[in-house]
């Protein structure tokens, strides 16, 4: 995963640019041409992408924390190996995405700095705790499931390096979702207690997962520019609806209840209609007041600080090798 609609277009003042260049750029986008790193691009396009891709990268990295917490407590070696491989994939996703973001002229160190200082956002979903083993099932099934919905259209994003990174990421996501769903199947066919655990996890993750797609289209600012630039291909609500439609039958198969009394199938539109999302909760989590925001940042800062000697030692070793070679 895990981009969400933190991907609002950057609204800073548009610098004066050659209008004919801007028109030529838009014409390339309209012709479905991919933009590459050294091509001319409007400053707002560059800034919007740098922010979106780096926030996406931060989300992959922070996203390792809730699941990493369960690696040593997985119930079997099979589950442990799978979870370890999944978390390793997420780390790789972070790397692909930082590399794509760097092509826009900002260094990975600068992006790290933005995350560690608390200035950069990352997906709201990772500010919720994974309190039981069933949460690992729910995360894979729902969080990675929502991520897939978001990420598939990004494989056709107008910016080449981002699109290519997303193709790699999407190839790896399917295993994440399937391993999560398998955990949910096992629990929901298990003892009463296990089934209750699965239901409890679904109850807690469902609404935050719907929030992953970002604010409703009626209030989502600036997404028009991202659409025109073909960074975004579907609106937040369109993607959210696709996710709900895909997930309801899966929950039914599990014999679990989605925690939404208003959920109903609408014959006319062929969609599952869902109840009111608590957007105030979403705002609070994005503003830093979710259940785990402080923990997550503290864990990243600690890991970064404790890894400093490793980076220093590697750099010193490289320098020594270089001098020896002269």
């Amino acid at each position: 995963m895990y981009t969400q609609a933190l991907n609002a277009t950057d609204s800073q003042i548009q610098p004066v640019e050659d209008m004919s260049q801007a028109a030529a750029f838009q014409a390339r986008i309209d012709a479905e041409e991919r933009i590459e790193a050294n091509d001319w691009m409007p400053e707002t396009y560059r800034r919007t992408l740098a922010r979106q891709i780096s926030q996406h990268a931060h989300s992959e990295i922070v996203g390792m924390l809730p699941e990493g917490n369960w690696i040593t407590r997985a119930p079997s070696l099979r589950r442990k190996a799978a979870l370890l491989a999944k978390v390793q994939d997420e780390c790789g996703h972070g790397l692909y995405l930082y590399a794509a973001a760097e092509t826009l002229g900002i260094s990975r160190e600068q992006f790290f700095g933005q995350l560690l200082s608390g200035n950069a956002k990352y997906s709201s979903i990772f500010n919720y705790p994974a309190t039981t083993w069933a949460d690992i099932g729910a995360i894979g099934w729902l969080v990675d499931g929502a991520a897939i919905m978001n990420q598939i259209p990004l494989c056709r994003c107008s910016y080449g390096p981002y699109a290519r990174a997303m193709i790699r990421v999407c190839k790896e996501e399917s295993f994440h979702q399937r391993q999560g769903f398998e955990i949910m199947v096992t629990l929901s066919r298990g003892t009463g207690e296990q089934k209750a655990m699965a239901q409890d996890a679904l109850n807690r993750w469902w609404w935050p997962c719907l929030m992953m797609f970002g604010p409703p289209d009626t209030v989502s600012e600036h997404s028009d520019a991202s659409m025109a630039w073909k960074i975004k291909r579907f609106s937040n609500d369109e993607l959210r609806q696709k996710f709900v439609d895909a997930t309801v039958p899966q929950a039914q198969h599990l014999g679990l209840m989605l925690p939404d009394p208003d959920l109903r199938f609408d014959e006319a539109s062929g969609h599952w209609l869902y109840g009111e999302i608590d957007w105030n909760e979403f705002k609070q989590v994005l503003a830093g007041n979710g259940p785990c925001n402080r923990d997550r940042l503290a864990a990243r800062r600690k890991a970064h600080a404790e890894g400093a000697w490793v980076r220093d030692a590697a750099a010193a070793h490289a320098l020594k090798q270089m001098r020896a070679a002269v």
């Binding site: 091509d39 390793q88 790789g92 590399a99 790699r168 400093a308 980076r311 220093d312 590697a314």
Partner: protein, 96 residues
């Protein structure tokens, strides 16, 4: 402290099968070539994607300037006589 020194960027190329050329797959940061190869193995070949890895310091790559695109590649567009279809071969001859 070396904390401010940035880790160099490397471009990674993978040969997916013998008989195929190495293909660019992405980039990564590493302090030296050995670390770059190991990291490339970990990041880009976790599912049997390759049999051979090349890493090249990104700084060593010389690229053409995209704004010279028209001038650089125009000859390839205008010289139609470089293509076999430019030449007429009588129908009776068949495939040539």
């Amino acid at each position: 402290m070396m904390e401010n020194k940035m880790m160099p960027l490397w471009e990674v190329f993978i040969r997916s099968r013998n008989g195929l050329a190495h293909k660019h797959v992405g980039s990564l940061h590493a302090t030296d070539s050995k670390m770059a190869v190991q990291a490339a193995r970990d990041v880009y070949t976790r599912r049997g994607e390759g049999l051979s890895i090349w890493v090249v310091p990104s700084a060593a790559i010389v690229a053409s300037d995209p704004s010279d695109k028209a001038m650089m590649f125009e000859p390839a567009e205008s010289k139609v006589y470089r293509h076999p279809t430019f030449y007429e071969v009588p129908d009776e001859i068949g495939h040539m």
